[in-house]
């Protein structure tokens, strides 16, 4: 039955047999391939069916877990619905209401404000990556240290920082006290709660961006630096003209994913400021959506806000991709 002398553990599947023995000489008895013709064999049809079944898994997954919920919430966004009872179709009422809803505007503003942490985090992690790329003792140790927050549970971290930010006994104010500064009650003051949360998210995300930057920096061809050094470029010029453009894809990736992630901030808000902070100053849009849906039982309105948020994220990401495509950098 098996004409091809392959080892027992090799695939015995007919389709893979020619690939399994591609070395001339190793296959002395190999038969010439059959002439190419439209494949209509029974075998082929069965293979197609199996293939379709495999493809079917993710497709059904997409239909049931992504497309259906999406369409459902699109419909729900045009109803008055408490999540339990009947839905009453109200057209675009929810969207009209959103346009004049002070709380939604505040939550949107807060969400965007918290994204100030993204450039701060990127700069810091690039600096850290450059530092850890040098040949010095203990780099592995520091890489681990900076990565620990990334793999820690966000809820646990939020609780820890909540303690650290406590106005009276918190670690941060105690540290400030040592240098004679009286720190504010971070999470209870509308002017300091957002910076406090930004601090926490930057700290938490640092290790991840740093690791990606480190990998990108290490894959820059050394010949580029050598050539630049021969041409007399100093360290800053080499960084500006070689390192920065070469890590650009990573920067792009981080900016896109951070903005998507940043528009969905929820856990740290809910744990650190369970009422949305003083004067709603730390309420993010996702937190506000969650509260509207589950505390105030207004699923219809919450769905409408989610749809708008989804569209905004989509548009922003699309713009980023376009801009990135227009200014792609490549090494000749």
């Amino acid at each position: 039955m098996a004409h091809v002398p392959v080892a027992d553990d090799a695939p015995t599947d007919a389709a893979s047999a020619p690939i399994a023995a591609p070395f001339p000489g190793a296959t002395a008895v190999e038969q010439p391939s059959p002439p190419l013709r439209p494949r209509k064999s029974k075998l082929h049809a069965r293979e197609r069916r199996v293939g379709l079944l495999f493809v079917g898994v993710p497709i059904i997954g997409f239909l049931t877990f992504t497309l259906y919920p999406l369409l459902f919430s699109l419909y729900a966004s045009m109803t008055k619905w408490n999540g339990l009872g009947p839905m009453r179709f109200t057209g675009f009422d929810n969207y009209v209401k959103m346009a004049g809803d002070e709380r939604v505007h505040t939550a949107m503003f807060n969400t965007v404000f918290l994204m100030l942490g993204i450039p701060i985090g990127l700069i810091l992690s690039l600096v850290l990556a450059l530092a850890l790329n040098r040949k010095m003792r203990g780099t592995t140790f520091f890489r681990t240290v900076y990565y620990v927050p990334v793999i820690s549970s966000l809820a646990a971290i939020a609780i820890m920082w909540q303690w650290a930010f406590n106005g009276d006994f918190g670690l941060i104010n105690q540290a400030l006290d040592l240098v004679g500064i009286q720190g504010p009650n971070w999470l209870a003051d509308k002017d300091t709660v957002k910076p406090a949360i930004i601090m926490m998210t930057v700290w938490k995300g640092l290790g991840y961006s740093m690791l990606l930057y480190l990998a990108a920096i290490q894959s820059v061809p050394a010949s580029l630096y050598e050539a630049a050094a021969l041409d007399g470029a100093n360290a800053f010029q080499r960084f500006r003209s070689i390192t920065l453009p070469m890590v650009r894809p990573v920067t792009f990736f981080l900016v896109v994913t951070s903005i998507i992630g940043g528009s969905q901030v929820f856990i740290e808000i809910n744990i650190m400021t369970p009422t949305g902070g003083p004067e709603y100053s730390s309420a993010t849009i996702v937190w506000h959506i969650w509260r509207t849906a589950f505390n105030y039982r207004d699923m219809g309105y919450a769905s409408a806000m989610s749809i708008v948020l989804g569209l905004l994220v989509f548009v922003v990401t699309a713009i980023q991709f376009r801009r990135n495509a227009r200014s792609t950098f490549s090494v000749e």
Partner: protein
């Protein structure tokens, strides 16, 4: 041979994957008829809470299972934060637990949507539970007649009631040589300020204050003073926000002045509970609120403390009572057993004893509570105050009997400038009333919509 076997295995894998996914997607609406493999009936009880609740309910369930042969109860415990979300998900997914916790604020929506069972008949005819022996406030919190909450059919029974009372640091009074407060006659507001001022002292003479009269969180304490002054958040018909009355503004201003004018509380900027809570526990605060759930913690403290009524100018004090209820699902496969389980959880004597011993609640059964008060061994001495709140002067939190609490929460969002003394209470209540009224109107509309 070999080939075809591999092939069919492959096909089977793909088919199984696809099928299992399709089944999962259907939400498991398949075979669950509430019966276990061995033929016993299966009930699910979903609640939130800590170890004390779990221990108490394990006990109650054990006795329930012994009394009802062939019934098994499965407990699902969540954290307090997650509970509302998980319950909503369970209801939306039609996987409603047979028995579960509800808050008074959820009663209207759950009842009109037909999620919770009307327990009235079963409970009134029950031999496990005697409604007259359970706090009326608790039971009434879960009554709803289709338009007004507090009357009509019973949709849940109270798991507990939590009278929010007021306490004072007895040791601090004695050291300062101040006459102890009367446990029956409340202070007037002026008297309270006077005593609070006397308690605010620099005891070690280093030029900095070491102890303060009080330090109250506005979210949980303002009610007592507003009500005690004749004001309220909402009118009796539950359709108009009434925070813009002079009585209300006066009480709020008085509350803010404790800090800004009289200087009887710690740091000017902070009304955060955590800070004053910690200071109270360190013995630096004279007056502080006490809920039944605080008793076990406060009994470990280094000073003597006791309960008194909240200060009031009206002669009768006021404060709020919290409560959480236990309801049965309308779609349960075993309605009789589910209701009986509710009754066991609410009124089982051993379970109640476990919870009371743990110092997390007062007894749910009135006769048991009277016995508990009569016991002079355990602290606080004036436990009677808790019962007075429960029986006489406690009220529901303003949003308990409305469809949604959004209008009420709105009141506290921008209140900080008033507490800091940057805005007068009169200005603030005038400003916030229209915003709250819009939200209350929305809640009323949503309630009518859900009912239709």
């Amino acid at each position: 041979m070999m080939k075809s076997r591999t092939r069919s295995a492959l096909t089977a894998t793909a088919a199984a994957l696809t099928l299992s996914l399709a089944l999962t997607a259907c939400g498991g609406s398949g075979s669950d008829d509430g019966t276990n493999a061995d033929g016993s009936k299966q009930l699910t009880f979903m609640f939130r809470g800590g170890e004390d609740e779990k221990a108490a309910y394990t006990e109650a369930i054990k006795q329930f299972e012994a009394a009802n042969e062939g019934v098994k109860v499965n407990m699902i415990v969540t954290t307090a934060d997650e509970y509302a979300t998980k319950l909503q998900a369970a209801i939306t997914g039609r996987q409603i637990p047979d028995v579960f916790y509800v808050e008074p604020g959820q009663v209207q929506s759950l009842a009109t949507s037909g999620v919770v069972m009307d327990l009235t008949e079963k409970v009134e005819g029950s031999d496990v539970i005697d409604l007259d022996n359970i706090w009326e406030y608790g039971v009434d919190s879960y009554r709803f007649d289709g338009s007004v909450q507090g009357e009509g059919a019973i949709y849940a029974l109270p798991k507990d009631i939590g009278p929010f009372s007021f306490g004072y640091n007895k040791t601090m009074f004695e050291e300062a040589g101040i006459e102890l407060p009367d446990v029956d006659t409340p202070y007037t507001l002026d008297e309270f300020v006077q005593v609070a001022k006397e308690l605010t002292q620099d005891t070690d003479g280093d030029g900095e204050l070491d102890q303060w009269g009080t330090g109250l969180n506005v979210t949980w304490n303002l009610q007592a003073f507003v009500w005690g002054n004749g004001g309220d958040w909402i009118n009796e018909a539950q359709d108009t926000v009434t925070v813009d009355t002079p009585e209300f503004a006066e009480a709020l201003q008085w509350f803010a002045d404790l800090q800004n004018v009289h200087g009887t509380t710690p740091s000017v900027e902070q009304a955060q509970t955590l800070d004053t809570y910690q200071r109270w526990m360190q013995g630096e605060i004279g007056f502080f609120p006490v809920g039944p759930w605080d008793v076990s913690t406060y009994n470990e403290l280094d000073f003597e403390w006791d309960l008194i009524p909240y200060p009031s100018d009206a002669g009768t004090p006021a404060t709020w009572i919290g409560t959480l209820g236990i309801a049965a699902s309308n779609s349960t496969k075993h309605p009789d057993e589910a209701v009986e389980l509710v009754e066991y959880l609410v009124a089982n004597v051993d379970a109640q004893q476990t919870l009371v011993d743990a110092g997390v609640q007062i007894p749910n059964l009135i006769d048991m509570a009277d016995e508990w008060v009569a016991d002079t061994e355990s602290k606080p001495a004036n436990k009677q105050e808790f019962l007075d709140v429960a029986r006489d002067y406690g009220r529901a939190l303003p949003a308990n009997n409305t469809y949604s609490a959004q209008w009420y929460d709105e009141f506290f969002v921008n209140i900080q400038p008033v507490l800091d003394g940057d805005q007068t209470a009169a200005e603030y209540v005038k400003e916030v009333q229209p915003k709250m009224q819009v939200l209350l109107d929305e809640a009323i509309a949503a309630s009518q919509n859900a009912g239709s």
